[in-house]
């Protein structure tokens, strides 16, 4: 148990005059409490107006991504005592429009995601007696690509995205490669064509913030490197 101060960035769209401000809360944090537990404590016991998104509280839904001590992570996967500091700063994911307090609009990541056609595309009709099969080796190629929970941490941490709001973002590029690398997908060009653009693949400057930020330990930069190879191979013949 330790007394921890939480500095939380707040914003109420109905109080434009006040704008964005920092509010401090102090609570006793027992061992094992995640940041989401602490936010719940604050909301339920100290200030019912504190707004944030949450759902599964087990790192699967991606709702509670926020900037914790200057780094994006899921609140439900952040052990507060494990941060080893008496003051924890909590901010909404940067780069996205803030709706209220820690809740941001995820429209930019949905836009990027839809651009890469994030679904399996085929030309041949499906087999009538079974599903489209993959060998274990083909399936293994998708490890590290399919696990994305679309929390938005990576794109929000990306300086290229801060500078270019039309950049489709590392999450969308990871998703594009997830289908390009899929042995069952017969139209890789459909996923590659929309990203071959200055607001697409070529906007990545290999800064690796996305890799640092991903709460699922995925590597969008690696997927981006593979996509670059695919595109260049396609162009050179």
């Amino acid at each position: 148990m330790a007394m921890i101060t939480f500095k939380i960035n707040r914003y109420n769209p109905d109080d434009e005059k006040r704008g964005h401000f920092v509010q401090e809360y102090q609570i006793d944090v027992p061992k094992g409490y995640t940041l989401l537990d602490c936010l719940n404590d604050i909301k339920w016991k100290l200030d019912g107006t504190l707004t944030y998104r949450r759902s599964c509280r087990s790192g699967i839904c991606g709702s509670c991504a926020m900037t914790i001590n200057g780094v994006n992570n899921l609140a439900c996967e952040t052990q507060v005592l494990g941060l080893n500091c008496s003051t924890v700063t909590v901010e909404p994911l940067r780069g996205y429009p803030v709706v209220k307090d820690l809740a941001v609009s995820l429209d930019p990541i949905v836009r990027g995601l839809l651009a890469v056609k994030p679904y399996l595309m085929t030309k041949t009709p499906p087999p009538t007696d079974q599903e489209r099969l993959q060998s274990p080796e083909e399936r293994e190629k998708l490890d590290g690509l399919y696990e994305c929970i679309l929390c938005g941490s990576c794109t929000s941490s990306c300086p290229s995205f801060w500078a270019d709001k039309e950049y489709i973002g590392p999450h969308a590029l990871l998703k594009a490669y997830r289908f390009v690398a899929d042995s069952r997908d017969e139209c890789p060009g459909e996923h590659l064509e929309p990203i071959d653009d200055k607001h697409g693949l070529w906007r990545c400057h290999t800064i690796f913030n996305c890799v640092e930020a991903c709460p699922k330990d995925l590597n969008p930069t690696k997927a981006i490197a593979e996509l670059k190879k695919e595109l260049i191979r396609g162009k050179l013949g």
């Binding site: 401000f21 300086p159 400057h205 690796f208 640092e212 690696k222």
Partner: protein, 125 residues
Amino acid sequence: MRVIKRYRIHMGTFAWILHRLSGLGLISYLLLHIWVISHLSGGERSFDGIMHSFGSPMFKLMEIGLVGVILFHLFNGLRVTLIDMGVMVEKQKTLFVIAVIIWLGTWFAFSAIMLSKMGLLPFTV
């Protein structure tokens, strides 16, 4: 109250910032270089005059700094090229450390040669 707005810097971000700054440094040098060379159109006298002012020991020492900037941009640029080719993407931090070690090693060697040519070392390299 101050609104916090800072994203924690790690090795990849640091490498990227240094790469951009060294790139800006190289562009500044290139512009200076073109400006100096443009004095050729003013004849021998004009060119000799400008070269003379760049011959001061201070500028000679700055040349060592320039070599450092070029070498950093070169070796980190090779790191970025490897990453773009999908080589050692998961080991980008190790790759940066390797690039920095090679950079410092070659810079040290170049500096020794340059200082020795200026007669600023008690021995010749």
